[in-house]
């Protein structure tokens, strides 16, 4: 194998286009795991999943199995799930509660922070071995940090703080949490795991893509539009069908009414495209009355109005997290191989909100993130089909230039598309990709032609 130099890598990303090889080359993929997943802040779980001391959760960064643990002192630990003895995976379950970790192979046990607690037959080892050496442990990931309950880990010892890394995207997490009348979220309702035979980057590249629904989702848009509302529904189908109809918003709507905003380090969010009052709390349909009352009761009328007026659709945190505040969804993209990806999606319960809100969250999840959904299944087909197409010997360059000439500088160090069909968010992710792949640092937002930003962010 000929080593891939930084110069090679820089040659793979040009204004408005990238090389096909970035999605197909196993050597590039290994470098991505090392340089992107090996240094950036990666989402590993939510604090509600490890609420009490002794709670633990199996998670991962890239392909590395990890444990997120609530230590006896209440602190969060992120441990490599590997025994210091012969390397067996210590915890085989998805999560649970314990006062120690014990390896099933020879009974080595560990404290919740990963330090070796005890091991049988500790005699006759050579001089290098010291059971009191802190390296003789289930080793901790160098950095773990939380922003408003969302926990991230970084395999790099040094780098920007989590808040610096997130930058203005902290406001999307605020939006997520502030919608809970009780001021907190909890993971609930199960996890979808879906897979496709394509590169991990394709997933986030699709989630702010305002130009794809009319094509990719045509079958579910047509079917939902033709559906009679007179037929029996227990409520779940109604949410689903309304959402599918909204996906049929015409190009003119996306071009004129919806925005796309991007920020340093590859992050972005898409504005909302919904005008169905049964799907958007801010539109004040009676279905949201109890929820809004609970919000106003805790936060007051003005603050509630401000919170609900924030209208973002997907917020993408580079490299592999996407979430959506209005129906409390979160997706984590796990790269398995250059053309194999698994995505885990979660729902959150808004503490203090009426039960019906969470039922709608579930219905929405089934519709948009469900493995058997009428919507997502066509997205998964596209990812696989891109994977298949890229295995051909067609053009070595892939285009990400839609709206390039209209990119505008924006507040908070960001850059936005002139309208929401711009691929600015993909270009922005590749700026971050390039910086991490070549220099292991944050990305700067390249300055587009200096023009005044006229619009205010949602």
């Amino acid at each position: 194998m000929i080593p891939i130099t930084n110069e090679d890598i820089r040659g793979m990303v040009q204004p408005g286009r990238v090389m096909r090889r970035l999605y197909t080359d196993p050597d590039i993929f290994e470098l991505e795991l090392e340089r992107i997943f090996g240094s950036a802040w990666i989402y590993v779980g939510h604090e509600s999943q490890v609420a009490k001391p002794g709670d633990f959760l199996a998670t991962r960064i890239g392909r590395k199995p990890l444990l997120l643990v609530r230590d006896v002192d209440g602190g969060l630990r992120l441990l490599h799930n590997q025994c210091a003895h012969r390397g067996a995976m210590v915890v085989a379950s998805d999560g649970g509660h314990t006062n120690e970790f014990r390896c099933c192979y020879h009974g080595w046990t560990y404290h919740l922070d990963g330090r070796l607690k005890a091991a049988p037959l500790l005699h006759g080892y050579p001089p290098h071995f010291d059971p009191n050496n802190p390296r003789c442990a289930m080793l901790a990931v160098p950095r773990v940090a939380s922003y408003r309950g969302f926990v991230f880990g970084s395999l790099a010892k040094d780098g920007p703080s989590l808040e610096d890394y997130l930058g203005y995207m902290t406001t999307s997490f605020d939006d997520m949490v502030d919608r809970a009348p009780g001021g907190a979220l909890e993971v609930a309702g199960g996890v979808f795991k879906h897979t496709y035979k394509g590169n991990w980057k394709l997933y986030l590249e699709n989630l702010c893509d305002a130009a794809h629904p009319l094509f990719v989702h045509q079958s579910s848009i047509d079917a939902a539009r033709a559906q009679s509302d007179e037929v029996y529904s227990d409520g779940s189908g109604e949410i689903a069908i309304r959402q599918m109809r909204q996906n049929g918003a015409p190009y003119s709507f996306w071009e004129e009414h919806v925005g796309i905003w991007t920020y340093r380090n590859g992050h972005s969010f898409l504005g909302d495209y919904h005008d169905d009052s049964k799907l958007v709390a801010a539109l004040n349909d009676p279905v949201f009355r109890d929820y809004i009352a609970a919000m106003e009761n805790g936060k007051g009328k003005d603050k509630t109005k401000k919170i609900l007026e924030v209208r973002r659709w997907n917020s993408n945190v580079y490299p592999n997290l996407s979430f959506m505040s209005q129906f409390q969804q979160l997706r984590v993209v796990h790269p398995l191989a250059v053309n194999e990806t698994v995505v885990h999606t979660f729902c959150f319960r808004l503490k203090g909100a009426p039960a019906r809100m969470f039922e709608n969250t579930i219905s929405f999840a089934n519709t948009v993130n469900g493995t058997g959904s009428l919507v997502l299944t066509d997205d998964l087909e596209i990812y696989t089909r891109v994977g298949l197409g890229l295995s051909s010997a067609g053009s070595p360059w892939l285009e990400i230039g839609r709206g390039y000439a209209g990119d505008l500088p924006d507040t908070h160090g960001g850059r936005r598309g002139q309208n929401s069909t711009s691929e600015v968010y993909i270009r922005n992710m590749f700026d971050a990709w390039l910086a991490l792949m070549t220099e292991g640092r944050d990305s700067d937002i390249p300055s587009p032609a200096p023009r005044e930003s006229a619009e205010v962010q949602p």
Partner: protein
């Protein structure tokens, strides 16, 4: 049809369901699905039916937990209509399926309705790859003027909580 035959039929209808008639019904349902006759499959369901494929073993409710599929009657109609769309890219190419049903037992039985538990195996072939699904199905069957209808159907896959590629053809 002669009078004595009609009375024999109404006597049969007043009796609880038999395993044989439930099996004939489930085999018929499987044939419709394997043949891609989804409109006829939909017609087997009652006007307020639901169709459920849980994502967790022993899942108690589709309301507070996600599901691989949970369709009320309205969404089931939309699902079936989409299956007929020429723009359903996740069915381009179309799947071919083959279903086996076995081990039928009737869990709850009366003259009007019964709950049938069965095992199934489903082969799905699409784009040079074959998937195997298996598990337990429960059908709530009710008598209707012109035959049996499904009031609800629950399908518990053995690997319900595994990572899956898209699930498009109904179980």
């Amino acid at each position: 049809m002669t009078l004595p035959q009609r009375s024999a039929q109404s006597r049969a209808q007043a009796a609880p369901f038999t395993v044989a008639e439930c099996e004939a019904f489930l085999v018929r349902e499987a044939q419709l699905l394997d043949d891609g006759r989804f409109d006829e499959w939909l017609a087997l369901f009652t006007a307020d039916a639901w169709y459920w494929v849980p994502i967790e073993p022993n899942q108690a409710s589709p309301r507070d937990t996600i599901s691989l599929i949970y369709d009320d009657r309205r969404l089931l109609e939309t699902r079936v209509r989409r299956l007929a769309s020429p723009r359903i890219y996740s069915q381009e190419p179309r799947s071919r399926t083959s279903r086996m049903i076995a081990n039928l037992t009737i869990e709850e039985n009366s003259a009007e309705a019964c709950t049938v538990r069965s095992k199934f195996q489903l082969l799905e072939y699409r784009r040079e790859a074959q998937r195997i699904f298996g598990g337990t199905a429960r059908h709530r069957l009710v008598r209707h003027d012109d035959g049996i209808r499904i009031a609800w159907k629950r399908v518990d896959l053995v690997n319900c909580d595994a990572p899956h590629e898209g699930l498009v053809v109904p179980f």
